[in-house]
């Protein structure tokens, strides 16, 4: 599938164009003005007429340009390159310390982006950079690229990572929270395909949710939707946030304690072998039939399910997707969450409700980041500002931003990648 210039913002739908700007685009195609004719492809299909002649649908070729994508979490960094539909062409992941200096993170990101561009055989332009971050990206604009670095992580207020990336790659930059990008990835390329209302729940050290309403990501007033990890829950006499009671740290801690107390023979055996006990080990012990580990995961699933059931009753989703390495590899947590959600949902809500694990794993963040950028590029309000020049770099706000970024002397490079004959980057 190729992105379609459409209204209001979604790329892969066949909504006909509307408004003066789209008229200009169509005219450009109809009059066959040569420069743009080469860039745009006219589809033979016609949209639904709303009176008068049916609008002609126009698509950009998915291969027209690339998008660089990255995911950041507390311990790892992932990078990739995708086409305009979000299809990943290459990805790489490595350990990273997000508590280190932002400049070091930016340098590493730049190095890996350069490496991945250098490895592409195609000659495509770079149209965007989209990064999935561990925290919410508080930003009033819905789809437009960033004009400065928002304070997403500690230290970012004093280090202009967005500006540095623009300077290095001459492409607009989008930042979104990891749960938002994963939701987008799952919606467009995973379990959410074909669904209009989806609740996505990521279970890890943090627990967060993403909401798709009427086929689009709902970002709330400030881009901070779905911080369900902060909801207080009670388990017996203990009360705490959902994250602290059911997240992967809680699973690991309880598993370790069960092993040390001798209640979990499998975890005790892991400990004897010198294995570090993380939630993954507890999940493996549970899969091997260890009763204490099964109870820990069931408890986590029940607590998550209780909170998600409240959301389900409120939002009436078609599908709930549980993601994160534990939820995806462990049937016990998934089963407990399902039981809690179905048990506490109104019959009308649970009647056709599907609760499944993510179909994408950790790639959903990279794919979703690419789709975020593609949707941003093709959102009519943004598109009309650059379409006549046929490259998003021509957007006046982006051009202004580049002017603002003071020119700095290039640092001494010590790694020389192969000479490239590839296209503009």
């Amino acid at each position: 599938m190729r992105p379609i210039i459409s209204a209001p913002t979604t790329v892969p739908t066949t909504v006909p164009l509307a408004g003066a700007e789209s008229f200009e685009i169509l005219n450009l195609v109809r009059t066959e003005r040569s420069t743009t004719r080469q860039e745009l492809e006219r589809e033979s299909e016609l949209g639904t007429a709303t009176g008068g002649r049916a609008p002609r649908l126009v698509r950009f070729s998915a291969e027209r340009a690339n998008i660089l994508v990255a995911t950041l979490n507390q311990t790892a960094l992932g990078v990739g390159i995708a086409d305009l539909t979000g299809r990943l062409k290459m990805e790489h992941h490595e350990e990273a310390d997000l508590t280190g200096p932002v400049s070091a993170l930016c340098d590493r990101l730049t190095t890996l982006f350069r490496w991945i561009i250098d490895r592409q055989e195609d000659r495509h332009d770079l149209w965007g950079i989209s990064i999935s971050t561990p925290g919410a990206v508080v930003d009033g604009t819905e789809t437009r690229f960033h004009l400065s670095t928002p304070p997403v992580l500690p230290g970012w207020e004093s280090f202009p990572i967005v500006e540095r990336l623009v300077e290095a790659f001459d492409a607009p930059v989008w930042l979104r929270s990891s749960v938002e990008t994963m939701t987008m990835g799952e919606l467009h390329a995973g379990a959410g395909i074909g669904h209009r209302t989806m609740l996505f729940v990521k279970v890890g050290k943090r627990i967060g949710a993403g909401l798709v309403s009427d086929g689009s990501l709902f970002r709330g007033a400030q881009g901070a939707v779905g911080l369900i990890g902060s909801v207080p829950v009670t388990n017996g006499e203990r009360t705490g946030t959902l994250e602290s009671m059911a997240g992967s740290d809680a699973i690991a801690e309880e598993g370790r304690a069960a092993g040390e107390r001798g209640q979990s023979p499998v975890i005790a055996d892991f400990l004897r072998r010198g294995h570090e006990i993380t939630a993954i080990e507890v999940a493996q012990a549970a899969q091997m039939g260890d009763r204490a580990a099964i109870e820990i995961l069931s408890q986590s699933g029940r607590l998550i399910g209780q909170v998600v059931a409240t959301l389900a009753n409120m939002l009436n989703p078609e599908i709930i997707v549980l993601s994160g390495s534990i939820a995806q590899t462990n049937d016990i947590l998934l089963a407990a969450a399902r039981e809690a959600i179905y048990g506490a949902s109104h019959p009308l809500v649970s009647r056709d409700l599907q609760i499944i694990r993510s179909q994408m794993g950790s790639s959903s963040g990279l794919v979703g980041a690419a789709i975020t950028a593609a949707e941003g590029l093709f959102a009519p309000a943004t598109l009309r500002e650059w379409i006549m020049a046929v490259r998003p770099q021509a957007h006046p706000l982006f051009a202004d931003m580049k002017r603002r970024i003071s020119e700095k002397p290039a640092g001494k490079g010590t790694v020389h990648p192969p000479a490239t004959t590839k296209g503009k980057r």
Partner: protein, 334 residues
């Protein structure tokens, strides 16, 4: 030894012990009359032979019948044809080493779509996802191997040296990880170095690419090649040019091992463990067929091989005595 890399989708590595088969698992497998097929890039290299030995032997011990071992001769078309043919045979699982990326992705997706468990070796075509399209990836810790090669080359490099990297111009998880890790380790620990990267797209071009590197960096003080065959080709280029350039590489091939024992130019090797990788792939497959989801990525640590431990490392990696020439170089026989 810890695994330093992350999996193709950012997965944390699981150790081979995590798919250890207990006697009762093997008994259940034997009672299940399982059939599997194997699809490899080649069956003629030392690495492939050792992998197959570990793989087929362990499957045999579990009563799992290997119905075919397809040799694709590195050709994506042959791999696609083999996968489609084997899908029709309907084995319980197919164990495959994808020889390319996008070209073979769809054929590999068809395996899982046909209800056959797919276990991958060394490489995951982009777009294939664990638990959806494949069960598990079994590979060496290629990131760790790259770091190991960097660390051992660093000891041979004077401050401010200019070095070369002989990379592989294909989108292949294993070689990508090695190159990235080598350069990253050097950038962090030896920021004084100047690194030039050139990549060959076919093995036959390795010597030519080395020449190109030498022209760019005439005073090259060290070289890293992403596996041993191009490393030995580069060594011949240096020898012909009358240059003494220390080389580190990955994979303890016979020629590379002999070169290492002879005192150079290969000065250190980070070795994979193909026999153990084969055994691990077999137990991962059996684990999956018994209905227990194995980890998405099982990684085997590398072995740092120096002239001092080359003989015992050879025995351990290849499960066979070191070649006589290697023993002679080490003055262990006459």
């Amino acid at each position: 030894m810890t695994i330093t890399g992350l999996g193709p989708h950012g997965e944390r590595a699981a150790a081979p012990e995590r798919v250890l088969l207990l006697p009762e698992d093997m008994a259940r497998a034997r009672a299940s009359s399982l059939r599997v097929a194997i699809v490899l890039h080649t069956t003629t290299s030392d690495w492939a032979r050792q992998l197959l030995a570990g793989l087929v032997g362990t499957l045999g011990a579990c009563g799992v019948v290997v119905i075919d071992v397809a040799d694709c001769a590195f050709a994506p078309e042959a791999q696609i044809e083999a996968l489609d043919r084997l899908i029709r045979e309907a084995p319980a699982a197919i164990i495959s080493l994808p020889v390319a990326n996008a070209k073979v992705a769809e054929a590999h997706k068809r395996v899982a779509a046909a209800g056959i468990r797919l276990v991958l070796l060394d490489n995951v075509p982009t777009g294939l996802l664990p638990s959806k399209d494949y069960v598990s990836l079994i590979s060496a810790d290629n990131f760790g191997l790259g770091k190991m090669a960097a660390e051992s080359l660093s000891a041979h490099l004077p401050p401010g040296a200019r070095i070369g990297v002989l990379g592989y111009d294909a989108d292949f998880f294993a070689t990508n990880e090695r190159e990235i890790a080598f350069v990253k380790w050097m950038q962090i620990n030896r920021p004084d170095l100047d690194i030039t990267v050139r990549r060959f797209s076919a093995l036959a071009d390795a010597a030519e690419t080395t020449h190109a590197l030498l022209e760019l960096v005439p005073d090259m003080a060290g070289l890293f090649a992403v596996w041993d065959t191009p490393a030995t080709a580069a060594a011949r280029v240096f020898e012909a040019a009358g240059k003494s350039v220390p080389i580190t590489t990955i994979d303890l091939g016979r020629d590379a091992a002999i070169g290492l024992a002879a005192g150079g130019p290969i000065v250190a090797i980070a070795a994979q463990q193909p026999f153990r990788q084969g055994q691990t792939a077999a137990s991962t497959t059996v684990t999956a067929l018994l209905g227990r989801p194995p980890p998405a990525w099982v990684a085997l640590p590398g072995i740092a091989v120096t002239p001092d431990n080359v003989v015992e490392s050879f025995q351990s990696v290849w499960q066979s005595p070191a070649p006589r020439e290697l023993l002679r170089k080490k003055k262990l026989v006459r």
